[in-house]
């Protein structure tokens, strides 16, 4: 490599030298050219000058040309004649000399001062234009510039990419179009839509003629114009007006309410009378002033009268009237009241022109319900429910039959009941009609924008649902915060990993490729059994660590840790990794034996009996001492044995019946160092085994996995449960959310430029917000 680079350098050097030479040559040339140009200019100016001067100039130019030729072609140097001959067939006398600018200008008298100055400036500037780069070099520069441009262009995506890498969840396709036509009327989207049927054409012609909005939410042109025309001041004035109107309205409403609450009949009577008078006065005035209006008023009165005739008001059929009818026999006042009401009725229903069959009509009126006069609705003509009260009547008839069956003799009451029912029916009718109209309205709307509306509704629902969810979430947040704190720590950790340049994620660990094919669960089991032998790299066996146990264990003393070799400390203590995570358990144990509260004495006796029984049954078992023995045994087995290295017969007599001397025995007996104190040293009722359990070790993590900085982190990551057995539904959903979601059957398009715009907008919005906050 080094050699190659040296070579390159040398090559470069030589090329540079060449270039320099070339540059010098070109400099001179250009100098000449420059001057030449200047001369030509001068020549143009001095066209009217005398011949001599011109001749001199021509000579100078000729000499320049000669020089140039010689420089250009080295061949020309051979023939001297060519060098001396100019193309103007004049000898270049001072061919070798350089023509100075002063030579040229000096003769010219009438050179303007400005030009002279410029020329002098030109002469003073000694800079030469650099020669163009070689093609290779220029190409290279061009490429470099283009690359920089492209790189900067591509770098715009940095933020988007980072966001996507960090995102907890990515839903693909990123740019999701709503499935149906978007917001707005269908006609706008479908460009080729045109009214085709004659009816449609007619309708649209009408609408456009009246300048009515064709599409649902659109304002009329006039409204739009007004909206557009209204300035701020106008809007303010208008708002003030509206406010005033609203205030007035509420005031009137309150007043009306107050008046309505007044119970005094007299007051109302007076009021009514006054009103009527006033009305009559007005009417008379109207007859004179506005006959047409008066006629209309008259007509209205007529209608009111007809309505009154049709209704059952003032016919002594109401509740009040009935009660009065009962009382009428005995009470003068009641009778009068009834009389009065009938008069009112008569007054109200009086017609100026009397018809012949008035009475008959009246009778009919009473029998026929109001709906008969209603026009039948075309759409639902087939629906008996919509046709007034036909079915109602059927019901009525049935009821009547029932009543007949019951044979009730209170005929008067029956009649009254019927009347009541009729009142009810009128109410029902109104309701039905209302429903009908509503349904029709809805149908019309649906016809207009069925798909549109559905979508919108859905969206709204979704939005509402999501809103609701968010709210709920916020409410629950406080509750679930505790749970999520631990989780979030690790999600951030994980995100940190993805951020980091390091890419050795665990998923990228090499596959365990082998020749075994897994077909059943048994195979998998085999695999896992074989795992530890397979997996376990030649690591030093992990140090004896405490068994997973309950909170009873005190933390190991610090001295113990320091006593351990350093090597052990560095490695991740496998057992601690899993065993430490068992938490302090304080299980609220249900009391197994309840102490008697009420019948203390009896219970006490019973207990005594029970205890005695148990004692008798387990007479031979001394559990406690057995346990202690067990513990002693364990402790003994844990103690290092004394190694006796005495050999009989060395240095003294040996043989049967002879023992090595005490001194010798003492000399050769090797005592091992005492083991570290047991953890259950001060716990009389516990045995803590610190031996490695091979059954568990296969499931435990050997070394600290990549993203985690220390064992504690890993432990708490493992300790946090994910399932719904231990977490609330919401937490589970949040925790279990997959990183990437794709929609079935949807084509995922590559990232589009719009994403960038979106991102920029977001950023822009943020910055503007920031600036705003800074300002304030």
């Amino acid at each position: 490599m080094v050699k190659v680079s040296e070579k390159k350098k040398s090559v470069k050097k030589s090329s540079e030298e060449e270039e320099e030479e070339v540059r010098y040559g070109e400099e001179e040339e250009e100098d000449g050219e420059l001057r030449g140009e200047g001369d030509e200019e001068e020549g143009d100016e001095e066209e009217e000058e005398d011949e001599r001067k011109r001749q001199k100039l021509l000579d100078a130019i000729g000499s320049l040309g000669g020089r140039r030729k010689r420089r250009k072609r080295s061949q020309a140097e051979r023939s001297e004649a060519a060098a001396l001959m100019s193309e103007f067939t004049v000898n270049a006398e001072g061919g070798g000399d350089k023509v100075q600018l002063s030579d040229l200008i000096g003769t010219a008298d009438r050179v303007p001062a400005k030009t002279r100055k410029q020329l002098e400036n030109l002469q003073r500037v000694r800079k030469s234009i650099q020669s163009p780069l070689s093609r290779r070099e220029s190409d290279r520069i061009q490429r470099d510039v283009a690359f920089q441009k492209a790189a900067s262009e591509v770098s715009r995506w940095k933020e988007v990419i980072r966001q996507n890498q960090r995102a907890e969840q990515l839903v693909f396709p990123l740019h999701q179009d709503p499935p149906g036509p978007g917001p707005g009327p269908v006609e706008r989207l479908v460009s080729g839509w045109r009214a085709r049927t004659p009816l449609e054409e007619e309708v649209f012609a009408l609408l456009s003629a009246n300048k009515q909005p064709i599409h649902d939410p659109v304002l009329t042109p006039r409204e739009e114009a007004s909206v557009r025309a209204m300035s701020l001041e106008e809007a303010k004035v208008r708002r003030a007006e509206l406010q005033k109107a609203r205030a007035l309205q509420s005031y009137y409403e309150a007043r009306a309410r107050r008046e309505r609450k007044i119970k005094s009949k007299k007051y109302h009577r007076v009021q009514n009378k006054a009103k009527r008078k006033e009305f009559l006065k007005k009417f008379e005035e109207m007859v004179e002033a506005d006959p047409a209006g008066a006629l209309e008023e008259l007509h209205r009165m007529e209608v009111a009268r007809m309505k009154e005739r049709m209704s059952l008001k003032h016919q002594n059929s109401g509740k009040w009237a009935k009660s009065k009818a009962i009382m009428a026999k005995y009470d003068e006042g009641a009778r009068r009241a009834m009389q009065q009401q009938l008069e009112v009725n008569k007054e109200l229903t009086q017609k100026v022109v009397t018809s012949l069959n008035e009475e008959e009509e009246e009778e009919e009126e009473e029998v026929l319900p109001g709906f008969v006069n209603d026009a039948e609705r075309g759409v639902d003509s087939s629906n008996p429910w919509m046709r007034g009260k036909l079915s109602e009547e059927r019901k009525e008839a049935e009821e009547e039959e029932e009543e007949v069956m019951e044979t009730v003799d209170l005929t008067v009451e029956e009649e009254e009941e019927e009347e009541e029912e009729e009142v009810k029916e009128t109410e029902e009718e109104v309701l039905l009609r209302e429903f009908d109209s509503r349904r029709k309205l809805r149908q019309a709307e649906e016809e207009r924008a069925a798909s549109d509306r559905e979508e919108e509704e859905e969206e709204e629902e979704e939005r509402a649902a999501s809103d609701r969810e968010e709210e709920e979430e916020e409410e629950e947040k406080a509750a679930s915060d505790r749970e999520e704190e631990e989780l979030s720590e690790f999600t951030t950790l994980f995100r940190g990993i993805s951020d980091a340049e390091k890419v050795a994620t665990d998923s990228a660990a090499p596959l365990q490729e082998g020749l075994i094919r897994i077909r059943t669960l048994e195979d998998v089991d085999l695999l896992s059994q074989e795992a530890p032998d397979d997996e376990a790299p030649p690591l030093p066996p992990p140090p004896p660590l405490p068994q997973p146990s309950a909170a009873v264990n005190p933390p190991p003393p610090a001295t113990e840790k320091t006593g351990k070799p350093k090597k052990r400390k560095r490695g991740i203590e496998l057992k601690q990794v899993l065993t430490k995570d068992t938490k302090a358990i304080k299980v609220p144990l249900a009391p197994t034996v309840e102490d008697g509260e009420e019948d203390g004495e009896e219970d006490g006796e019973e207990d005594e009996e029970q205890r005695g029984l148990i004692r008798e049954a387990f007479a031979g078992d001394d559990v406690v001492s057995d346990f202690l023995k067990d513990k002693r045994k364990q402790e003994d087995s844990g103690k290092p044995a004394v190694v006796d290295l005495t050999l009989p017969g060395w240095g003294e007599w040996g043989g049967t019946g002879l023992k090595p001397s005490r001194g010798k025995r003492r000399r050769f007996r090797v005592k091992a160092a005492p083991p570290p104190p047991r953890k259950d040293q001060h716990l009389p009722s516990v045995i803590i085994s610190e031996k490695r359990n091979s059954a568990i070790s296969g499931h435990q993590v050997n070394s600290l996995p990549f993203p985690f900085a220390n064992p504690a982190q890993f432990e708490s990551a493992v300790r946090t449960p994910l399932g719904r057995t231990w977490n609330t539904e919401r937490t589970v959903k949040k925790v279990v959310k997959p990183r990437v979601v794709t929609r079935m059957g949807a084509i995922i398009e590559p990232m589009q430029r719009e994403e960038l715009m979106k991102d920029r907008k977001r950023a822009g919005g943020k910055t503007t917000l920031d600036s705003l906050t800074k300002k304030h």
Binding site: R143, A151, V154, P510, E513, I518, K583, A717, R724, Q752
Partner: protein, 445 residues
């Protein structure tokens, strides 16, 4: 006498409607659940085992070609359509949902070298060994009509690759040089050369649509901008790159498949060393395609396997092979991120699941939830040796297995030797060269 009776309020445990979630009266107090870790561990283990048991990635084999499948093209607007070109110049249009061939046409004489569907999906382009570029209609010609290309361009030299711009009526071919063509013209609007005489593939950046890259026979990868008259930059590697694919979600990343059994992911702004080296194949990697989510990519190799790599992982997460599959020439990842298609030497196109143990079809909400949960559990316990062992176990054909073993040994030996050399020479004279830096010879501006 007071009689104590168990009495429960049905409101506490009965749902109002069957659409409600089940009421589970449960105390979440962690002190009451001492064995949560071990229970979840068991669940994770079971999930992992089941995952392996249900891992059946192979879905279908599409046969019909009478020579090796040399190139494939995804339809841009239809998920169920696939185009394939074979070494005898035949192009077939497949219906993937029916798993049958819908149309066959003899496009070229000799190999069909490249194929691409226009962004609108109404036509497609092919290039072949007969020095022609042909544009074909996507629709099958009616009865009595002849299969004729819409447009044929006769080039001067053989074309070896083809790609279409994502938005404009512009496409690029490669051969002796990289040409940019306007669809309306019969001569290229621009040609790029840079001292190389043969390119093997060219591909447009799907995000920054004016950029493109090509692999050349001088072991280089060259970047271009369609708007510029000259190429941008090139990187020369130790061995030749066969194909190249841009990440569809991350504008400046691309991955190239190399003859030296590896794949290299580059950031186009920093070509002097790859971002990641993806190793696992035991023979030359012939083709690579990104998943539409940009999170993973699939590679086809001469060692008769297809592997799936995470985009930032050094090793594959999955390896697919069958007994009958020969050298895999081309591979595609379907546009819905669900399937993988591989075309191989023995004339078949194979359809694989992208996620081996995934259930096809619609998942019930509860099913989906449980799948998500088990997925997260596996993720949580992934470092535990047993789970790790089970998730990473794959069956390999014998020769690939032994080859990979051999390669491992060779690599180890080389490493050892280097270490020894370093140990026995003056400190600093034998520098440590990272794996990433090893494979790049130089970057030419």
């Amino acid at each position: 006498m007071k009689v104590k009776v168990l009495s429960r309020n049905p409101d506490d445990y009965v749902r109002e409607t069957k659409l409600d979630i089940q009421r589970v009266p449960r105390n979440y107090d962690p002190t009451l659940h001492p064995f949560e870790v071990s229970r979840e561990y068991t669940r994770a283990l079971n999930a992992t085992k089941l995952d392996r048991v249900f891992a059946k990635p192979f879905l279908a084999s599409l046969d019909g070609h009478r020579d090796g499948v040399n190139c494939m093209a995804k339809h841009t607007t239809s998920l169920s359509t696939l185009l394939s070109g074979s070494c005898d110049g035949e192009v077939r249009v497949w219906n993937l949902s029916k798993r049958e061939c819908g149309r066959t046409l003899q496009a070229h004489e000799g190999f069909v070298r490249g194929m691409v569907v226009r962004f609108c999906g109404t036509s497609f382009f092919t290039v072949g060994d007969d020095k022609t570029i042909k544009q074909w209609k996507m629709e099958t010609p009616g009865y009595g009509e002849e299969e004729e290309p819409l447009n044929t361009i006769l080039g001067k030299t053989v074309f070896t690759g083809l790609d279409h711009h994502r938005k404009d009526a512009v496409f690029a071919t490669c051969g002796q040089q990289v040409d940019i063509w306007d669809e309306q013209r019969s001569s290229p609007i621009r040609s790029f050369t840079w001292g190389v005489d043969s390119f093997s593939s060219v591909s447009f950046n799907p995000v920054e649509t004016e950029l493109l890259a090509s692999c050349a026979s001088d072991r280089s990868i060259v970047l271009y901008d369609m708007r510029e008259s000259a190429p941008l930059k090139k990187v020369i590697m130790t061995m030749r790159s066969n194909t190249l694919c841009w990440n569809p979600m991350e504008a400046y990343y691309f991955t190239s498949s190399n003859e030296d059994y590896n794949l290299y992911t580059y950031d186009m702004r920093y070509l002097d060393r790859p971002i990641t080296v993806h190793m696992d194949h035991v023979s030359a990697v012939l083709d690579v395609d990104y998943s539409p989510t940009g999170k993973e990519f699939v590679s086809a190799s001469f060692d008769k396997t297809v592997r799936i790599f995470p985009k930032d992982g050094g090793h594959s997460r999955e390896v697919y092979h069958t007994k009958r599959m020969q050298h895999v020439i081309c591979v595609k990842w379907s546009a819905d991120n669900k399937y993988i298609l591989s075309g191989s030497d023995e004339m078949n196109i194979r359809l694989w699941k992208a996620n081996a143990s995934e259930k096809l079809g619609v998942l019930a909400p509860r099913e989906r939830e449980s799948r998500n949960y088990s997925q997260k559990l596996k993720e949580k316990f992934q470092h535990h040796p047993q789970i790790r062992r089970i998730t990473h176990h794959r069956h390999l054909p014998k020769n690939v297995y032994h080859q990979s073993k051999e390669l491992r040994i060779m690599k180890e030996a080389r490493r050892r030797k280097e270490r020894n050399v370093r140990k026995h020479s003056k400190p600093g004279t034998v520098p440590v060269v990272s794996e990433k830096a090893k494979h790049v010879v130089t970057v030419v501006k």
